[in-house]
């Protein structure tokens, strides 16, 4: 039996993030490869039961709308009627537990590998994102824990607003399909280069 190499993991944005443009950088970018991610789809007529199970297990009131609710390392993002994107700091191993908790009540599909997530922030991040995203990113319209399913540069993405340093220095997390991570990053770098982009 030949000596087989170890199975290495390769994250969606591996090898892509690099420093460009002026220093100090106006935007900072870091990948979140450790996140466990899943789509959670409510089965018909199980609305209240699903909410109770999520509250009991995760201490979270399931958001009904484009909002994010987070507690103890688990976040639920509303991405459509009866549909949520779940992000778990503890990693993809927790997705099986999520599915088991909600069995009979909701359909869970692991997307930990299907999506790549970037955390982006800094004093110039809004100007950078505004070059491609059609939504209003002002803190009044898209404040902390807002969620949007939208596009940039012909690439579908989900964006949610997280804890930035201030209103003037917001932070967001953006999820894109793994196959489009390279194309998305190229657009992000193109758009942010004039302000300076650095790895967090």
């Amino acid at each position: 039996m030949p000596d087989l190499p170890n199975l290495a993991e390769r994250s969606a944005f591996a090898g892509r993030i690099r420093r460009v443009g002026p220093d100090p950088a106006g935007i900072r970018v870091a990948e979140r490869p450790e996140l466990g991610l899943a789509t959670l789809l409510a089965r018909r007529e199980t609305g209240p039961e699903l909410g109770e199970l999520v509250l009991a297990r995760y201490g979270i009131a399931l958001p009904q709308g484009p909002f994010r609710v987070r507690a103890q390392g688990t976040a639920f993002m509303g991405i459509g009627p009866g549909a949520w994107l779940v992000a778990m700091d503890g990693g993809s191993a927790l997705i099986a537990d999520l599915a088991a908790t909600l069995v009979g009540c909701a359909c869970v599909s692991d997307q930990s590998d299907g999506l790549g997530v970037l955390r982006v922030e800094g004093p110039r991040i809004r100007e950078t994102l505004a070059k491609g995203l059609p939504i209003d990113l002002h803190s009044v319209s898209f404040g902390r824990d807002s969620v949007a399913v939208t596009i940039a540069a012909h690439i579908g993405l989900t964006i949610w607003s997280v804890d930035g340093r201030s209103d003037a220095e917001p932070a967001y997390e953006i999820a894109v399909s793994r196959s489009l991570a390279g194309a998305f990053y190229r657009w992000l770098e193109d758009s942010g280069a004039e302000y300076g982009l650095s790895h967090d």
């Binding site: 390769r10 089965r43 359909c107 692991d110 930990s112 590998d113 299907g114 196959s179 194309a183 998305f184």
Partner: protein, 581 residues
């Protein structure tokens, strides 16, 4: 030439609102405004300093209020309202000299008069007959004078003339600013599989499949051309073992107690009878009865199916399934999610494929023929990662597809190559895959072209008679069941040394090359290494009844007219012995 003081109304008209004529100012001022727009100062005809400052302060207060802020009453700076009065002198009609009205498009007062004489008197006709106001300034320097002259010539007041709307942009914008980064290779996004970097290192030549890049072939040193490479890949797979990246095919996770019911309604054949741990080939029809997409459905559990689609139709099928769920049958207890990106998937094909998997997976799963027969599927943990194995085959060889979470896609293709080195493993691309499926007579995109029915493709038996499904009724229309519809056949040039090409049309010997004589056409061709000659699949009127007969493949674009023999679309291993090995 002067038009007086003209407020910049263009922005207010981009969404179709028309300006109003102000008799007092002899100019147009904003009329209806788009929602959310306020206009202040000279832009709305408040021409004096004091009036402009007042306008601005109050508009600011109103805008802040509309955005949810209360700034209180603004302090309006003191300024005089200097007198403003205008008396227009539109045109010295007695002058003999050329008088330009539109400097950009060289429209004169005489041109305006000609338009009036020719009957182009409305403001919209004046614009298009003379091109007045059609240049990049969109009439900022010309409209008012042109309209005033036309009004005088036709004895009407200016407001009765109406006005045209301006087109965006307000000021010229470089096309480059609109294109932004979408130039060259970045015109549209490119999708890459997790095995892409490895394939590029191997020197793969890539081709586009929609937005995806897929490896077409992997040339080796000294090979004369792509045909030599692809022929070698096919021979290697059919004699040893090969791997191909099939990650781009759509994968849809269908869950719920009524998932089987749902799938029975969208597929022509039955899926609810599929036992867990088995897969089945499926054909989806459009509502109009034509074939839409094919793929395999694997049942991983009582309430869990994985639906596969062709690469090209992945998004369309997902959209179709969601439409069926949300609109047609909202009461069904079923949900679906695309997992195309979640799994890296590789086909492992050839007589040595089982041995390769035995070596690779060791104790993680039993791949013996008894435990994992043709069309079986398994989920298991291999080296701590969730792995799926499907015994399905597009090439007609003993074959499997391995699915791993995409973060391991790069590692797994390398591990497969390493594990298969002793077995003579080769990577193969979409071209070799195409050759092999043609040798086996499997239909693909060329045949599933939106104009063919299940019957045309030789798949009529898949249409269940025990259940209803999308496309069933309209597939029964007389036009779609007519006996002379072109149907799937195999073809081989009678002269084995000759080459044939897709798109050639079938004619009887001696027939004129006219539409009336047209019997059908070749859909797919390939050089078959197994037969040592070119072969093809095509759609021929009465084709299945004409096996053994000869027709012509008429190909004027390539300058060929080739005698071909009609045969069954199964050129190699027609019994499927390799499949069930």
């Amino acid at each position: 030439m002067s038009g007086g003081w003209n407020p910049c109304v263009a922005l207010t008209t981009h969404l179709g609102a028309r300006p109003h004529w102000s008799e007092e100012l002899s100019t147009f001022v904003p009329g209806g405004l788009p929602s959310g727009m306020l206009v202040a100062g000279a832009a709305r005809g408040s021409l004096s300093l004091g009036a402009a400052l007042r306008d601005g302060a109050l508009a600011g207060r109103d805008a802040a209020g509309a955005a949810g802020f209360d700034g209180g009453e603004p302090a309006i700076p003191l300024a005089d309202d200097e007198p403003v009065a205008v008396t227009p002198l539109w045109h010295v009609a007695e002058s003999r000299g050329k008088a330009f009205v539109d400097f950009q498009n060289d429209v004169t007062a005489d041109d305006t008069a000609l338009a009036a004489r020719e009957g182009f008197r409305s403001v919209e006709h004046l614009k298009r007959y003379t091109t007045l106001g059609m240049a990049t300034d969109q009439g900022k320097t010309s409209n008012i004078n042109g309209q005033a002259i036309m009004a005088a010539l036709t004895g009407r007041a200016i407001p009765a003339m109406g006005t045209t709307v301006a087109r965006p942009p307000y000021t010229p914008v470089a096309i480059g600013a609109l294109a932004g980064p979408h130039r060259g290779r970045s015109f549209r996004p490119v999708r890459l599989t997790s095995g892409h970097a490895w394939a590029a290192e191997r020197g793969a030549v890539f081709g586009e499949a929609g937005q995806w890049l897929r490896a077409r072939w992997f040339a080796e040193e000294g090979e004369a051309d792509w045909l030599a490479t692809v022929t070698r890949e096919v021979r290697s797979v059919r004699s040893r073992v090969g791997i191909c990246d099939v990650s781009t095919l759509g994968k849809i996770d269908v869950q719920g107690p009524e998932a089987g019911v749902f799938l029975d309604r969208v597929y022509a054949n039955t899926m609810s009878t599929l036992p867990p741990g088995k897969a089945r080939y499926g054909l989806m029809l459009r509502e109009d009865g034509f074939a839409m997409d094919d793929g395999t459905v694997a049942r991983l559990g009582q309430d869990r199916f994985i639906v596969s689609t062709t690469t090209a139709n992945a998004a369309k099928v997902m959209q179709h399934l969601e439409f069926c769920r949300q609109v047609l049958w909202p009461g069904l207890d079923v949900r679906m999610a695309s997992v195309t990106e979640q799994w890296a998937q590789y086909s492992v094909a050839g007589p040595r494929s089982r041995e390769l998997l035995r070596r690779l997976f060791a104790d993680a799963v039993d791949v013996s023929n008894d435990t994992l027969p043709f069309l079986a599927c398994r989920e298991f943990v291999w080296r701590a990662i969730a792995t799926r194995l499907f015994r399905i085959s597009f090439s007609g060889e003993l074959a499997y597809e391995i699915a791993v979470p995409a973060r391991y896609g790069d590692a797994v293709v390398r591990v497969l190559m390493a594990a298969g080195a002793e077995l003579g493993i080769v990577p193969y691309g979409t071209e070799a895959l195409g050759v092999m499926r043609i040798e086996k007579g499997h239909v693909a995109g060329n045949e599933l072209n939106g104009q063919t029915t299940a019957g045309d493709l030789g798949l009529g038996a898949m249409m269940s008679k025990k259940k209803d499904f999308i496309g069933r009724v309209l597939a029964g229309r007389p036009g779609l069941t007519a006996p002379d519809r072109p149907r799937l056949v195999g073809i081989k040039p009678v002269d084995r040394s000759l080459r044939i090409g897709s798109g050639a049309h079938f004619l009887e010997a001696g027939a004129a090359a006219t539409l009336e004589s047209d019997l059908g056409y070749i859909t797919s061709t390939a050089f078959s290494p197994m037969l040592g000659q070119w072969i093809g699949l095509g759609l021929l009127a009465h084709g299945p009844e004409r096996h053994g007969e000869r027709v012509r493949a008429y190909d004027p674009i390539r300058g060929r007219d080739t005698e071909v023999e009609i045969c069954a679309p199964a050129f190699f291993d027609p019994e499927g012995a390799r499949l069930h090995a």
